[in-house]
Every structure is written in C-alpha cells, then in structure tokens.
Amino acid sequence: MGDTSEAEPDAIATAFEDESAFVPYLAVGDPTYEESLEYVEALAHGGADLIELGLPFSEPMAEGPTIQQAVTRALESGMTPERFFEFVEDLEVDVPLVCMTYYNLIYQYGPSEGPQSFVERAADVGLEGFVVPDLPAEEAGPLREACDEFGLDLVFIVAPTTRGDRLEEMMDRVSGYVYVQARLGATGARDDVSDQTEGSLDRLAGWEIPKAVGFGIKNGEHAERISAAGADGIIVGSALVDIVAEGHEEDRPVEETAERLEAKARELKDGALDGTERLPEPEHP
C-alpha cells in the first residue's frame, strides 16, 4: 500500500467499529506474487475490514493441510520476507494489514538477530501489527517491546484451553485485537462451528479489546452464528485458501478466482453483519 493508502494509527480499532468485522487471511505469494496481489485486493473489494497477510514459513506448526499447502506453493514461487514487504508496499487496498508469521522469520530478519529489524521494516511498509502462532505471551517480551517502540500491535491467540493466570497475563500484553481460537486443532475449514466459541467469549467478557473468532469458519451461516454469539469479528483463512488452491489446480484465469474470492468475502461479511442484528440461535434446537 505504501503511500497510496497509509492507514491511521488507530486503524485496527476502526476496523472493528461496527462489531461485525470480517478478517480474511491469505498466504502471500500463493501461488505467485502477482496472482496473490490480485487475490488480496479482491478480498478488500469483497468487504474485508482488516487483512491477515501470511508470510510463509517452512515449518507452519499451527496450520492444517490447506494452509500448509498454500505456504509450500508460496515458498516455491520464491516468497521471502523481503519480497513480502515489497508485496505490502505494492498492495492497493485501504484496510489495515496485519502480518501473520512464525517467530523464527521475525527473529532472523536483518543484520542482527532479534525482532527489532523486522518490526521496524514492517512499520515502514505500513503494517499495523502481528499474529505469531508459535509465540505465546511468555516468550513475547522482546517482540512486544519492539512493537511498542515502533507503534505496532501484537495480537495474541486465546485457545479453548487458555484459562486463569495465563488469560490475565495475555490481557496485559495484547493489543490491536485478540484472536479467539474457536476450537482445538490446527486451522482448517470445518462444517461445524464449535460450542467452545461461546465459552471462550464468555471468559473474555471483561476485555476492552475487540475479539475476533477464527478456526473453522467456512461460510456465511457460520459467520452469522459466530457473530451472533458476540464476536467482534470473524477470521477466515482456509475457506479462502481453498478457492486459491482450486483455481491453481484447475488452471482458472486469475480474474475468475479473484471474483470467487470477492464473492466469498461478501458472503462472509454479510453473514457477520446479519449475526450482529439477530439474537443467537440456540446451538441445539
């Protein structure tokens, strides 16, 4: 985005203002740099309020098979941290952007080890924050410091297993939004949306920060239910990556895949909006 669409410092907070934010994820560079640019922009056109841009890491420990394969495609097409930053600069969207990656890439970047160089460069290209799935609050000290230094947010993931002390520790350190993991397991689109979501949202009732729910959201109906359960936003990855993968495998024209992504985005955003307007449906009627 670079100079075309510099987001405001409170851009993330703004993104969650209507309490039904749609937060899509794509792996950057999947299947190629150029295609990926189109796809991310399509999501923005489809109504994304904030986008999680995946910087591919060779050992995506927290991802399900769909995103693992996306990561592999992206790495094979030559994606690197430097290219990733260029990508962010090249993007023509005006929603806030968050980088989702694994800690080793953040740690190794730049002339000296440690997260500073990476965060500085991220700030430079206009990223708003980070989601780092293998960095629990206990290990996040150095990255938290660097983010504070450069004015970026550090999002934590709250899992169904997270309770007690750990929740409090995270509340103290989180910024931007909190990523509420809807159920156990790695990422991946599922047909059901877990009962655990409500429990998790209940545990976070006192938190000031927006609560975005992810893991397993696949369609508008899911989005609606999650939203109705009280989420401030819905995070969707695998269901979108599936469209990219399909387009790649079936050799569809880039425009067609981009259109499908945009349509899917619209469906999800609409679902989220509907959810905030209705009472929660009973889970077991």
């Binding site: 050992e59 190794q108 799935p133 293998d134 960095l135 629990p136 899992a159 297993t161 997270t162 156990l184």
Partner: protein, 432 residues
C-alpha cells in the same frame, strides 16, 4: 554475531533461568493451545520426575531395568583398543530393549503420561527408532498409541512400521513436504493441539519446548549415571573422554549429563557431516546435519536453539546417510554446552561413518547403528590425526545397526568401499 552483539539484542524471557532456559536457548515457542499442556507437564515433571511423587521414579527405574534390560554393560573393545593404542570402552545402549537408547525416554514419558491420567500417546518418528520404542512402551503400559511418520520414511523403513503395528500402535503417514522427520514433528504438534487434553506427546529427543529437553535428558541420564559408576569400578577412575553421536542430542545428553561437572572428562558430540558441509541456499538444502558445527541460533519446534536455516530463517532440509541424525535442529542444552565450551562439536561424513560401521562390525562383533557409527568414525579420525583425545575413552553405542543393513549394503556398494565384505554372491539368490 559476537556474544556481546547477542547480549545487546536483549533476548530474554519472563521465566526464571532455571525454568527451561539453557543460557540463551530453550523456551516454549508453541501455539497457545499447547501452553496449558506444557504447564501441566512441567508440573508433572517436577512432581513425579524431580520429586519422585507416588514413587514414580522408583517405578520407572524398576521397569527400565526389568522391561528395558538395564543396566547396560560398559565393555572393553579389545581390537579397537589395540588399533588405536588407547583404552576404548563401549557403553552398550544397543542392548536396551528395542535396540537403542530411545526406550529410556519413551518408557519414562509413557509412564509419566499414565501418572498424569492421560488416555492416549502420540509420537513422531523419522527412522522409526523412537516410534518403535514408544510403541513398545505404550503396549507394555497399556496405552493406546499413534505414531506420525513421513510417507517417505514409511516407505523406506517398512520393518520399523511393521514393528510398531505389531506392538499395536497406529501408524499415520504424513503426506506433507518431503515426508520425513521435520514434517512428522510438525504434524504431531498439530495433532497434539487438537487433542491436547487427553493426549500426551512423547517427543523423541532432547528437543521441543520446555520441559521436554530437561525431562528427556533426565530419562536418558541413566546412561552416564551408570557409565560413571562403571568407569570408576571397572577402570579405576573416570575416562578422559566420552564420544557420542548427536542428532537431536538425546543419547548425547544422556551419555554426558553426569560427566558435565567432571571438567577433566572431554565430551565430543559427533554430528553427521553428510556428503559435504557446504549448503545449497537456493534449494534450501544442507547436505549434512552438522547443526552444532555449521548452524546458528533460531526457533524451531518449540525451542530457541541452534539450527540449520537459510539467511531468511527458513529451515533447511538436512541430509545424512543415517536417518536418525537427519534433523535440522539440536537440543537447546547441547547447543548451550557447546557455546560454553564444555562440549566439543565435531562431525564425520557419510563415507567415514560407513567405514566405521564395517570396521566396528568386523573388529568387535557388534553391529552399530549408522548413527552410532559416526561416533566411531570420529574416534578413528581423531586417532589417525593423532589428536589428543586421551588414554581412555568411552564411546556411547546408542543403538544397533540391524535396521540399517539395506542402507549400508546399498551405500557401501555405491561407494565401492574396499573395507566392506562382498555381498554380491547373495544378491542374486540362486536355486538349488
């Protein structure tokens, strides 16, 4: 990067230094979903392993003796001693049930899982040694067990797949990436995330997030505990050196642990030099697994440690003729002991390891694992180069080589090694 530069980077954590940190290495770099499980495990580790609550360690010691076959002997290698003009002693972990040191850890962890009330065991395996050890321990202790193994490894290690199945374990092929150990670990972590509440993940080496490196070391430390006592009673004192091969580093840490305070005992960790120490950055491939010698600091599979990575921080594929050493990382404590200068990292290439395999087999009547053959390869190279590795050395025989026969024959032929016995008459079969 110099030590002082590192310090300036100010990497530090919020935990006490004793708590899963080995100098600058260690930690718990895992998905949030696993953190509560690690806390639970830390607690169990402290209570059962460190404090022997409910007699856990007594039961472990009884079972590793009566089921596992401990203590293993420390035996003199007569012909190697003669060959190298020094006293060579062998710590015989190849005699442990299952054929390698791996059971020490697997039995300890499966027993711990039982004490913790877990209902199910999962584990990753590369060559299949840790998988077979875990399957054996799980069968022995009546725990359902699933093993994750890369598809490539499933196909090339069929006998070990069969052993696991025969012991009642499920084997789940992992169809990702190259289909080897690295992918199997990642997949097992994912599976653990999905089922963490009732499942324990038995990690196969001194790697992964705290408390695994410390806990696995403690289960393996029985090696050096015994060896140190045996040396005192059989040799009349401590050895001058202990030599051990290092993949993830569990047999190494096990063989070194009780000698670490004995500063006169030199400790050599022998890594796989593979076909070369050069790396192919472009392809993301290291034709070796010499992490301690050539790698640098990073975060992999839950820990900050030394690893093989490209300049961007992407993990490189490692390569070694020995599947059990073929891993891109190494345990954080071992990385720290190397930084401290307490452990000397060395490496031996594929060919030297194969030659050592044959030499030890014909000299001593012991068929060492290809992993172990690296340790013997270093003994040979150091002796040939008249390096001062001391009068009396202990080599840790981490496992037996029955599992490696096919690989050895193939690789030996490919290289035309002269030291090796001729197998050709048996290749074609032939009728009566």
């Amino acid at each position: 990067m110099s030590e002082s530069e590192r310090e300036r980077n100010g990497e530090q954590t919020d935990r006490a230094a004793s708590d899963g940190e080995f100098g600058r290495y260690g930690g718990q770099y895992v998905p949030e979903a696993l953190m509560p499980a690690l806390e639970e495990l830390e607690d169990a580790y402290e209570r059962y392993v460190l404090e022997n609550e409910d007699g856990f360690m007594d039961e472990f010691e009884r079972r590793i003796r009566n089921f596992g076959g401990r203590p293993t002997p420390l035996g003199r290698a007569d012909r190697l001693s003669e060959r190298y003009g020094r006293e060579v002693y062998l710590k015989r972990e190849d005699l442990v049930h299952g054929g390698a040191h791996k059971l020490n850890n697997a039995l300890g962890q499966v027993l711990l899982a039982k004490y913790m009330g877990k209902e199910r065991i999962i584990a990753e395996t590369g060559a299949g040694q840790h998988g077979t050890a875990t399957a054996m321990a799980a069968a022995h202790l009546d725990m359902p067990c699933e093993i994750y193994m890369g598809r490539t490894d499933v196909n090339r290690q069929r006998p070990n797949v069969f052993r696991m199945r025969i012991n009642g374990a499920e084997v789940n092929p992992v169809d990702i990436g190259r289909g080897t150990l690295k992918e199997a670990i990642s997949e097992t972590m994912r599976e653990w995330s999905r089922t963490v509440e009732r499942t324990h993940y038995v990690i196969g080496s001194v790697v992964g997030p705290h408390p695994f490196p410390a806990m696995v070391r403690d289960f393996q430390a029985v090696i050096s505990e015994e060896a140190r006592e045996q040396a005192k009673s059989q040799l009349g004192g401590l050895p001058d050196a202990v030599i051990s091969c290092a993949g993830g580093g569990s047999n190494t840490m096990g063989a070194f642990h009780h000698f670490v305070p004995d500063e006169d005992v030199d400790l050599y960790a022998v890594e796989a030099g593979g076909s070369s120490l050069e790396v192919d950055e472009e392809a993301g491939v290291a034709p070796n697994s010499a992490t301690l010698s050539t790698g640098d600091e990073g975060v992999l599979h839950g820990a900050r440690t030394t690893l093989l990575q490209d300049s961007h921080g992407q993990i490189m594929e490692s390569h070694s003729v020995s599947a059990g050493l073929d891993y891109s990382g190494v345990g954080p404590e071992l990385a720290h002991l190397v930084d401290e200068g307490r452990v000397t990292p060395v490496n031996v290439d594929d060919t030297a390891a194969l030659e050592a395999f044959h030499r030890v087999s014909t000299d001593e009547g012991i068929i060492p694992a290809l992993e172990t053959s690296h340790a013997f390869g270093y003994l040979h190279e150091a002796s040939e180069a008249s390096e001062d590795i001391g009068e009396t050395v202990i080599v840790n025989v981490s496992g037996r080589g029955d599992k490696d026969l096919e690989t050895v024959i193939e690789e030996t032929e490919k290289r035309g090694l002269e030291s090796a016995p001729d197998m050709s008459v048996f290749e074609t079969g032939g009728g009566i």
